[in-house]
Symmetry: C2
Subunit: 201 residues, 2 copies
DNA sequence: AAAAATATTGAACACTGTTCAATTCAGTGT
DNA sequence: ACACTGAATTGAACAGTGTTCAATATTTTT
């Protein structure tokens, strides 16, 4: 049944990504299988392997899309709600948006970190650019507060890794040890305290 | 070949845990399989399932041991090097020890977070106690600095989630975007800035 | 209409977690 | 010494997995 739907390679790739995304969203990373994706778009495994090198590269592409959506979400969050507010407000807005996104798309967001490269080699360039892209929001908010550009980069990374840590531990239920403080409250506390420490340097 | 080595259930369980740990350390979470563990201790799959409910519960037990070792490691780190130093020094020592442990046992440490409970239910009690145990070190260091006990708990969780975030992003190579700042330097910066912000409240 | 080129299939391989009837054996009773 | 019993252990079976690639189906070119 060749060329059945006259879909190009790119079209098949996108259909596969759509289907795979839906599967992960519904059944999680573990529920994702080549045959399931292929069946969902009306093809068989073989075709899928014609369009993706392997399972890992499919996962990486889905993750790329997740990063794109996250970037979009952060953008609208800071542009709509509190335009041109101070750094603290902006950063808190960003953190809420980040955490909100992670909670809304938990399985896809989890997959962002379940994927691991073979020991020794790094993430592909296009993926690292997307990561930087997401990061740029934090840097922009922090720049007015920290003079030096290199220092801005460092502070942004440290602070955002911190917010990410809160987010990931909450979502994976490693932080429910005591009084039910929400992850957003925790992130707010981190940001406020960190910024105060930064100002009083 | 029944009762071949006259091992009790508990002994078999421990042998299995030792073997599984070695496999994960060498080949990662993905390399762990029931048949491999069984073969390594001279039994077959069936016996393994007599001693562990399923793969997940085996993983959870390995994780328990990893937490125990982590706890030990943190203890020796603060008791030997800098006994009775100020909070900042202690926390930095703890962070270095935490990160060092994660880097020394990367696959086992990763598995700590790759394991996920079925959606809806929580970690078993014995596991949560181990988590609290590890946390207690951070709380102890932070207590003199923060008056209120509830506030101490909050600050400890926020700060440690931050350190964990740095650690996890570095190990999973999501933070190599720019000038090669080490994860330990980043954690130090986080701790110093956070503590300054905490003091100048 | 025949030939060439390309798209698609699906069986095959070596693996996975999990179950459970069948087998093998240690200890006891005779 | 021998059968019996009950527990320990096995390993085949099931339904799935990622991945490959000769074979087939279809379109395009000649």
């Amino acid at each position: 049944m060749a060329r059945r739907g006259k879909y190009s390679r790119d079209e098949i790739r996108n259909m596969a990504l759509d289907a795979a995304e839906a599967i992960v969203a519904a059944e999680g990373y573990a529920g994702l299988s080549a045959r399931k994706v292929a069946a969902a778009i009306g093809y068989t495994v073989g075709t899928l392997y014609l369009v993706f090198e392997n399972r890992n590269s499919l996962v990486l592409r889905i993750n790329g899309r997740t990063l794109d959506r996250l970037h979009e979400h952060l953008m609208t969050a800071i542009s709509s709600a509190s335009a041109k507010k101070d750094a603290e407000t902006t950063l808190i807005t960003l953190a809420r948006a980040y955490i909100g996104h992670a909670e809304r798309e938990t399985p896809l967001w989890n997959m962002l970190f379940e994927y691991t490269t073979a020991q020794g080699d790094v993430m592909p360039d296009w993926y690292r650019r997307k990561l930087e892209h997401v990061f740029s929001h934090v840097e922009a908010a922090l720049r007015p507060l920290v003079g030096d550009e290199a220092e801005t980069g460092r502070a942004a990374r440290v602070l955002w890794a911190g917010v990410h840590g809160i987010c990931t531990l909450k979502i994976r239920q490693r932080l429910d040890l005591s009084g039910g403080q929400s992850d957003e409250e925790m992130a707010t506390m981190l940001i406020k305290t960190f910024l105060r420490g930064l100002r009083d340097r």
